[in-house]
């Protein structure tokens, strides 16, 4: 993240997140990725990963 000082220069600002927030973000990203790949009903993505779903033990397809 950075702060604009004027139209010609800017200054980088360090943003620190505590561990809980970082873990939450990671888990959210993991969940979003898995949902997109395995559980979305959006046809192009769903059809693309059809075989993948059918090759994983606990993943439902339809």
């Amino acid at each position: 993240m950075f702060e604009i000082l004027n139209e010609f220069s800017h200054r980088t600002i360090g943003v620190s997140l505590n561990a809980v927030v970082q873990v939450a973000i990671v888990l959210f990203v993991v969940g979003a990725a898995i949902w997109t790949v395995l559980f979305t009903s959006y046809a192009p993505v769903h059809d693309f990963f059809h075989e993948l779903r059918h090759s994983l033990y606990v993943v439902p397809c339809h």
Partner: protein, 419 residues
């Protein structure tokens, strides 16, 4: 004691006796040679309601027991009705390959149901009735087809020309299938219903893949936990990129070249599609195929009727219907069999478990010749139930979380000092 109350009408509750007492009293009222005593003539008071209302001495115990006796007798008669006229036929089930080697949604299984008499001989011309149920639902983990779980898969009844009903079938999911069978000389004299069970395990490849998937999730979680616990500020972006990279890699690793299936998810309601009848004529015969509802749906059973009539419109007896349900997308049959139409027709209830187009191929043959017909039927695909998807997703997230905790632990572990 609880059961004994069942034998008494509500008004007699207060004088209810235990079953063993009842039996003793009834035994006293049976003549030595086993002939039941005539209660009305031997002891008229017993059934005389006036004497009861008049406060006469009434042997309440035996009367109550008699009520119970009659009640039990009626129940016995009611439940023994199906026993009259039933046959002693049995039905044997065999599969090729054996159950332990069957892969659900993969292998075509040759199933044979054989009708046998009491001596174990195959009975040509026997009448059979079967009803196949999908495995029950597991509350914790889903199969590939959650809509198929705990549903009816197939129902058929009819005569068997050679005493054997054989069909090739792809079982959709793992679990224990139940097949209720009955057999007899005809529909009126079927044997008592027996349930046969067939237990299938999941494909070994799927089991292996899920362990690989879990390992990757766990590995990623450990890596993320390790990085976070180092207090690496601003490393969240790296963690996000790593996550995406891993999942994209995973997706492409398991993506076979022919996997881009045109797996359409139609926006229709198959149960409302009107029934249809398809006909084809040859050799002076007309073959009809009727389906109700007019489209299939995962989890729903369709009623399929095949019939052959001659030029005069009369059914042609002793016709054999070769039936195959061809999965167009996978280019293979999911079900095929020969049904014997003693009266020129056969009826089959069947669930199309995969939401894709199927081709119904029917060939009818009899003494007059052959006639065949093909009809494409739509099968509505349904996305898995939302609770099942969310539940499975939570499992995966939890595994990643466990990995993160392990990563934290590893980072916190004391390190060896180099001296």
């Amino acid at each position: 004691m609880k059961n004994s109350k069942l034998f008494y009408p509500p008004s007699q509750k207060t004088m209810g006796l235990p079953v063993d007492e009842c039996e003793k009293l009834l035994r006293r009222d049976v003549r030595p040679h086993g002939q039941a005593r005539n209660f009305r003539t031997d002891n008229p008071q017993r059934f005389d309601s006036r004497s009861e209302s008049a406060g006469g001495k009434f042997r309440k115990g035996p009367r109550a027991c008699l009520w119970g006796f009659h009640f039990v007798l009626i129940l016995s008669l009611l439940f023994s009705v199906p026993a009259f006229g039933t046959s002693n036929y049995t039905v044997d089930l065999t599969t090729d390959p054996v159950a332990s080697n069957i892969g659900p949604d993969r292998d075509t299984v040759h199933v044979t149901l054989t009708a046998k008499d009491g001596q174990g001989n195959i009975v040509p011309g026997a009448y059979i009735k079967i009803h196949m149920y999908a495995p029950l639902r597991n509350a914790f983990i889903s199969t590939d087809f959650p809509w198929v779980e705990n549903t009816h898969l197939m129902e058929y009844e009819g005569y068997l020309s050679n005493g054997v009903l054989a069909f090739d079938y792809i079982f959709p999911i793992r679990g224990q299938y139940r097949i209720d069978v009955q057999a007899g000389a005809d529909a009126a004299s079927l044997s008592e219903k027996k349930s046969l069970h067939l237990s299938l395990n999941e494909n070994k490849v799927e089991v292996r893949n899920i362990w690989i998937f879990i390992s990757i999730l766990l590995g990623f979680g450990i890596l993320a936990g390790f990085i976070i616990s180092r207090g690496a500020k601003g490393r969240v972006r790296e963690a996000v990129i790593a996550t995406l990279a891993i999942f994209l890699t995973l997706g492409f690793t398991y993506f076979p070249s022919n996997a881009y299936a045109q797996h359409e998810h139609q926006a229709m309601n198959a149960s409302n599609v009107p029934s249809f009848e398809e006909q084809a004529s040859a050799n002076g015969m007309t073959l009809s195929f009727a389906m109700n509802p007019g489209a299939g749906k995962v989890g729903m059973i369709n009623d399929l009727t095949f019939s052959v009539k001659d030029a005069a419109g009369q059914p042609v007896p002793n016709t054999v219907f070769e039936v195959a349900f061809w999965h167009i997308e996978d280019d293979k049959p999911i079900f095929s069999t020969q049904l014997f139409g003693k009266q020129g027709s056969a009826n089959l209830d069947f669930q199309f478990f995969d939401g894709a187009e199927h081709e119904v191929r029917v060939t009818a043959s009899n003494a007059a010749g052959k006639v065949q017909l093909t009809r494409t039927v739509e099968v509505e695909a349904i996305h898995p139930p939302m609770p099942v998807k969310v539940k499975t997703l939570l499992y995966f997230i939890f595994i990643a979380f466990i990995g993160i905790l392990i990563g934290f632990r590893l980072q916190a572990a004391p390190r060896l000092k180099m001296s």
